[in-house]
């Protein structure tokens, strides 16, 4: 194991133990001011819901990171990349874990939002880990765009709640919120952000694409962490959402849609990881349905479901990675018969499949029992839908496991490192242990559900050998699932048609079309605005002048513009200013470059005299020095460019239309600048000018020239930065003229 892998595993292990210890010690809370002016607090607190998700993220993290330590070096070798890049993946995984922990502990919505976006950034790094692969990069971008654009909705919701109730603390909000437009709007926005993060239909399309990530990333992000963050947010904000029953109905509808879309596509998909991705869409649909049902039963079911699903699904992703590593294949039709060759893996993933399919003696049995219970409480129609969903789940998972481990194939099986197998076995053991002794798992889920339900939400798990509704529903689901599995080959045509229809007119098309449209619009604007430098200057100056002129016209001018007294002793100043202005006008006339440079110097030297007359001895000296250097610099540049090129340039004439346009733009800018400067100079002098304090303090700074003291002492840091700019410019000039930029 490399050092970075050990570090990642250690981070996860420490997080797991620390969370556990903190909970056992009675909780943990931090609350320090963050931005007091906005009343923001860095408040983190461990409660039952946070505990559940934190333990999942850290615990599954330990196993997945251990798996990754064996998987990633092989992956890099397949891709022909140096092994040291391993550290990038482990680092991003650890960053993800920490963001996820922050997210589940945050009690301030703004803080939660920060961690929310951090998880998105980490997931972008992870999905796009194979950066040479264009498809991976675009998939990473898609996941980032879908989850961060919807994250803006979450931010809007936070602002709405803050405007209405004056706080962003979740507990305070839950205490004061009442049904009304603010809660309805904010609740809908929060739900939209959360459902996009959990890859619920119609924003589910990014998840199958995200399978471009290396397998450990999928095993972590797309089972226990990233997608779980969405349902976590809904669970966290559930007491707010529950104020508006329509929101819960919306959750119910989206959850059912996701179960159906994800389940049918999982039944159709042949690629192992894509099948699992669609299955994740469907399984989080279950959780969303239960959150939509709400109440104690819904909350209890949702929490136990998240727990059982995260354990089992990460095991299945890791199974897919190990199978592909052993055979070099990843499509179901080309796999089979691996049970004899990889018995441990088959057993471990078999337990995971059984738990997702809710077979008895696994933790998953209870998750479906609670699901059926919540559904039956809501009504017969939902009970029927629940049985259909469970049957679909059983069918596609049976197909997954049977397709890989049963039957036969010509696949050659290479041995794989033990670390690709034992995390799967560990998780399989865990879910079977949960099926035999569900107590600790139920307690964990119960603590979480109490937060969501806003009161006690008992997680009652036990086997009952009687004819109660849940048992009848489970039996019906197994039977229907088995039939569906047998009948699947005949349904392939219909499933393909569904998948094609989804690709042709589905939400992914909307995504690509909007991206292509935005790209085209951006290109169009770019073409118009940046055709050349002059068009760009005009594009900045003309609207800016127009806006300023508008401001000047609309602002009341009474007393704003004062001509100011002109005394006889000001005559030299007026004259020199006139010379400078005339010299400036002269620069626009000559065609020859040398005369142009001379006219520019004339402007500069006149201004130096103006500065001297204004009492700026230092400025005048600097201006003379700089203008001299300027004159030399221009002459030097002229000598570096052949004279015939300069003559050719001097003889060029622009068209009459361009000349007229330039003249109008220049005159407008000049007039507007005059107005702005005049308005500024006419402002009354403030009571306590900074100059007086500088004059008074200069002596204490042991300087006589106040300007020098300001530059070297009072504003010394500015001067330091200025010197840096000059130095950088000097290095750049030297590099350009003598370095490897020489053509």
């Amino acid at each position: 194991m490399s050092a970075s892998a050990i570090a990642a595993v250690a981070v996860a292990a420490v997080a797991f133990v620390a969370t556990w210890a903190a909970w056992a010690a009675g909780g943990f809370a931090v609350d320090v001011p963050w931005a007091p002016a906005w009343d923001l607090r860095l408040s983190l607190e461990l409660d039952g819901l946070g505990l559940l998700y934190a333990l999942l993220a850290a615990g599954v993290g330990v196993l997945v990171f251990a798996y990754a330590s064996a998987y990633v070096p092989r992956h890099l070798a397949h891709e022909g990349r140096p092994r040291r890049e391993e550290a990038r993946l482990h680092g991003a995984m650890a960053l993800f874990l920490v963001s996820m922990l922050g997210l589940v502990l945050a009690r301030d919505l703004v803080l939660l939002f920060v961690f929310w976006d951090l998880t998105a950034i980490a997931s972008w790094l992870l999905i796009g880990f194979d950066r040479a692969n264009r498809s991976a990069r675009l998939s990473a971008l898609m996941a980032l765009l879908v989850t961060t654009i919807t994250a803006v909705l979450l931010l809007v919701a936070i602002l709405v709640l803050r405007a209405e109730y004056g706080t962003t603390q979740i507990d305070e909000l839950i205490a004061v919120a009442r049904p009304g437009w603010a809660v309805a709007l904010a609740g809908a926005l929060i739900a939209a952000a959360a459902l996009a993060k959990s890859a619920q239909a119609p924003l589910h399309f990014w998840l199958p694409r995200a399978m471009a990530a290396p397998t450990p990333v999928s095993a972590y992000l797309h089972s226990a962490a990233m997608v779980a963050a969405g349902v976590f947010l809904v669970s966290r904000a559930h007491p707010l959402l529950a104020l508006e029953p329509a929101l819960l109905d919306g959750l119910l509808a989206i959850g059912l849609l996701s179960i159906a879309v994800g389940g049918l596509l999982a039944l159709w998909a042949t690629d192992l990881k894509r099948l699992l991705a669609y299955s994740t869409v469907s399984q989080y649909g279950y959780v969303v349905v239960m959150l939509g049902v709400g109440g104690a039963a819904g909350a209890a079911g949702a929490c136990l479901y998240v727990l059982a699903h995260a354990l089992a699904k990460s095991a299945l992703f890791m199974t897919a990675g190990a199978v592909t590593e052993a055979t070099g294949r990843r499509e179901l039709p080309r796999l089979g018969g691996l049970a004899r060759r990889m018995p441990l893996l088959a057993a471990g993933s078999g337990a995971a499949v059984a738990t997702l399919a809710a077979l008895p003696l696994t933790l998953g049995f209870f998750k479906d029992e609670l699901f059926f219970h919540a559904a039956a409480e809501r009504g017969t129609w939902l009970a029927v839908a629940a049985v259909a969903s469970a049957a679909l789940t059983l069918a596609y998972l049976g197909r997954f496991w049977g397709g890989v481990f049963l039957g036969r194939s010509d696949a050659e099986v290479r041995p794989v490192p033990r670390r690709l197998v034992w995390p799967v076995v560990a998780l399989g053991t865990l879910v079977v242990a949960g099926g035999i002794a569900p107590g600790p798992f139920a307690a964990l889920a119960e603590d979480g559900a109490a937060v969501t339900a806003g009161g006690p939400a008992p997680v009652d798990v036990a086997y009952h050998l009687d004819g109660r509704t849940e048992n009848v529903m489970a039996l019906a689901a197994w039977l229907a699932g088995a039939l569906l599995l047998v009948a699947r080959p005949r349904l392939q045509g219909a499933l393909s048609a569904l998948a094609r229809a989804g690709e042709a007119v589905g939400p992914e098309r909307v995504y690509t079309a909007s991206l292509a449209g935005l790209n085209a619009l951006s290109n169009r604007i770019h073409d118009v605005e940046v055709r050349d430098l002059r068009a760009r200057i005009a594009a900045v100056l003309v609207p800016a002048s127009a806006l300023i002129a508008l401001g000047v016209v609309l602002t009341p001018t009474g007393g704003t513009y004062a001509v100011g007294p002109v005394e006889l002793e000001d005559l030299p100043l007026v004259l020199v200013l006139a010379v400078g202005a005339l010299a400036a006008l002269a620069t626009t006339r000559p065609r020859r470059h040398l005369r142009l440079a001379l006219a520019l110097s004339a402007v500069g030297f006149s201004l130096a005299v103006v500065y001297a007359l204004l009492g700026g001895a230092d400025i005048a000296l600097v201006a003379v020095l700089v203008e001299t250097l300027f004159a030399l610099l221009f002459v030097g540049v002229f000598s570096l460019i052949p004279a015939r090129e300069l003559r050719r340039e001097a003889r060029r004439r622009s068209t009459g239309r361009t000349r007229a346009r330039n003249l109008v733009i220049a005159a407008t800018s000049g007039v507007v600048t005059t107005l702005v400067a005049w308005g500024a100079f006419s402002r009354p002098i403030p009571d306590d000018p900074a100059a007086e304090r500088y004059l008074a303090l200069a002596d204490d700074a042991h300087g006589k020239d106040v300007v020098t003291v300001i530059l070297a002492d009072f504003r010394g840091l500015d001067t330091l930065v200025e010197i840096t700019v000059v130095l950088v410019a000097a290095i750049a000039v030297a590099t350009l003229l003598h370095g490897r930029f020489r053509a």
Binding site: T324, T512, G564, G615, I619
Partner: protein, 142 residues
């Protein structure tokens, strides 16, 4: 005097803008230098007091010292303006060495031709494929 200063600033700025809009890059740089000059003059003439140099000791009752704050700002502006203008001139020299022209019209024409050549060699893919989201078989990493 307010109006006199403002008018001078406006003229210098207007002349600078006129040069900025030319095709000749050397004129563009000259224009930028003029705009920088206009900015320096604006800073200097916005001083709250005018009088003798702000150098101690000041004989309090005679003439007031001129505002040292704007002088410090102007000094910074002049030096930075000089550094950036020098950099621009160096860029023009390098541009000439590579493209044998200091004319924006020539350069943009050349750029358009190069873009057309690239397009002819490798036509832009249609939007779907360009985004890498082709319908049939998306790539899935192992």
């Amino acid at each position: 005097m307010n109006l006199v200063f403002a008018a001078a600033i406006g003229v210098i700025f207007g002349a600078g803008v006129h040069l900025l809009l030319q095709a000749d890059l050397l004129r563009v740089v000259t224009g930028l230098a003029l705009v920088a000059n206009a900015a320096s003059l604006t800073l200097m003439s916005s001083g709250l007091t005018r009088g003798r140099e702000p150098i101690l000791p000041l004989t309090g009752d005679a003439e007031p010292a001129s505002d040292p704050v704007v002088q410090a700002l102007t000094l910074t502006a002049i030096v930075i303006g000089f550094a950036t203008t020098a950099l621009l001139l160096a860029l023009i020299v390098v541009l000439y060495r590579r493209r044998h022209s200091v004319d924006l019209d020539d350069l943009s024409r050349e750029e358009a031709e190069a873009a057309a050549r690239d397009e002819a060699e490798e036509p832009a893919l249609d939007a779907w494929r360009e985004l890498g989201l082709e319908v049939d078989e998306p790539e899935v990493a192992r």
